[in-house]
Symmetry: C2
Subunit: 197 residues, 2 copies
C-alpha cells in the first residue's frame, strides 16, 4: 500500500476514535492519550497526524460536517425546492442518536470558536456553505411557487439555520429536550410558512 494512502487511512481511524470519545465522554475528555488508546495506537503515535488538541477538534468538526454533508447529498437525490430543503434540515435536526451525537461534537466546537480565530473562520465557512445551499433550494421553491413569503431569502435562510443550530442545544437537554416529534412538527410548520401569502 502506498505510504500516502496508509497515512490517510490512519488519519481517518484517529478521527473516528476522536469522534467516538468526544460524542460519548465530551471534548474535554478527548485527550491525545485517550484517543490514541481508543484507536489502538501507542501513546505519542498521534503526534505526526495532529500536533495539538485544537487541530484534533478542528479535524473532528470537519469529519462530522462532511459526514452530515454526505447524508444531505444522499437525502436530496431526486428532490428540489422545498422538498429538498426539508430533507436537508431533517439531516441536521438532532432527532436521532446519530444527529444527537453530532450535536455533542458541535457544541464544544462552537465554544472554542469564541477564542480560537482559526476555528471561528472554519465555523464561518461551514455556515456560508450551508447558506448558499439553502438559498439555492429556496430559489427553486420560488420558481415552483412553493415559496411565496415577502421575507427576503437571506433572512429566511438565517432563520432556518438559527433554528437548526438552536435545536442542537435544546435536543440535548437532560430533563426536557425538544422531542423528535416537536422538532419535526416545527420543521413542517416552518416549511409550510414559506408558502404563506
Amino acid at each position: 500500500m502506498p505510504k500516502l494512502v496508509d497515512r490517510e487511512l490512519r488519519r481517518q481511524e484517529i478521527l473516528e476514535a476522536t469522534w467516538r470519545i468526544m460524542a460519548t465522554r465530551g471534548a474535554d475528555s478527548a485527550t491525545m492519550r485517550e484517543i490514541a488508546r481508543e484507536a489502538g495506537y501507542a501513546n505519542g503515535a498521534l503526534a505526526p497526524y495532529f500536533a495539538s488538541k485544537d487541530e484534533l477538534v478542528e479535524a473532528a468538526f470537519l469529519f462530522v460536517f462532511e459526514r452530515t454533508n454526505d447524508r444531505i447529498r444522499a437525502a436530496l437525490a431526486g428532490l428540489r425546492g422545498v422538498a429538498a430543503l426539508r430533507a436537508f434540515l431533517v439531516e441536521v435536526f438532532p432527532t436521532t442518536e446519530t444527529t444527537r451525537s453530532e450535536a455533542r461534537i458541535v457544541l464544544p466546537f462552537w465554544s472554542r470558536t469564541v477564542t480560537d480565530d482559526r476555528l471561528a473562520r472554519l465555523s464561518d465557512a461551514s455556515v456560508v456553505r450551508w447558506r448558499e445551499e439553502l438559498a439555492a433550494l429556496l430559489a427553486q421553491g420560488r420558481v415552483d411557487g412553493d415559496v411565496t413569503v415577502d421575507t427576503p431569502d437571506a433572512v429566511l435562510v438565517d432563520h432556518l439555520l438559527a433554528t437548526a443550530y438552536g435545536l442542537q442545544v435544546l435536543a440535548l437537554l437532560p430533563d426536557s429536550p425538544s422531542s423528535p416529534a416537536t422538532q419535526l412538527q416545527l420543521l413542517d410548520a416552518a416549511v409550510a410558512a414559506l408558502g404563506a401569502r
Copy 2:
C-alpha cells in the same frame, strides 16, 4: 457592614470579573488566578467563594441569565401578548455589544453541559423557565387574536427559543455574522407569522 452582606458583595465582584474575562478572552482563559487578579484579590482569595472552575462557570451563567431576565422584565413593562413576546426576544437576540458578550458566555456554558450533568440540569431549568414565560405570552396573543396559527403553542415556543439560541452562534461568526438588521427582520417575520390563518 454585616458579614453576610460583605460576602454577597464580594461574590458579586468576583462574578463580574469572571464575566468580563470570559466575555473578552473566553472561558478557557478565565482561570481562578486571572479572575482573582481582575477582581483585585490575592491569588487564592477566590477559594472561599467558588471551590472550582465549574462552580464559577455555573455562577457566571446564572449571573448572565439573571441580568438578561432583569432586562426582559423591564422591557415587558406595560406590554402583553405578541408585543411582549417580541420585546422578550429582542433582549435575547445578540444584536448589541451587551447581548453579543452574553453569547460569548453562553457558548462555553453549553459546551460544558455536554459532560457536566449539574450544568446540564441548570441549562434545562433556564429553558423550562423561558418556555413557560413565552407560552404565557402566546396564550395572551391567542386571547388578543394576534396568534392564530394552528401549530401548537409548545411547538411555537421551541421554534422561537431554538431561533434565539442558534443566533447566539450565527451572530458571533467573524466574517459573515447574522447582522442585527437580519435578526430583527427575522424576528418581525416570525412574530407576524404567528397571526397567519
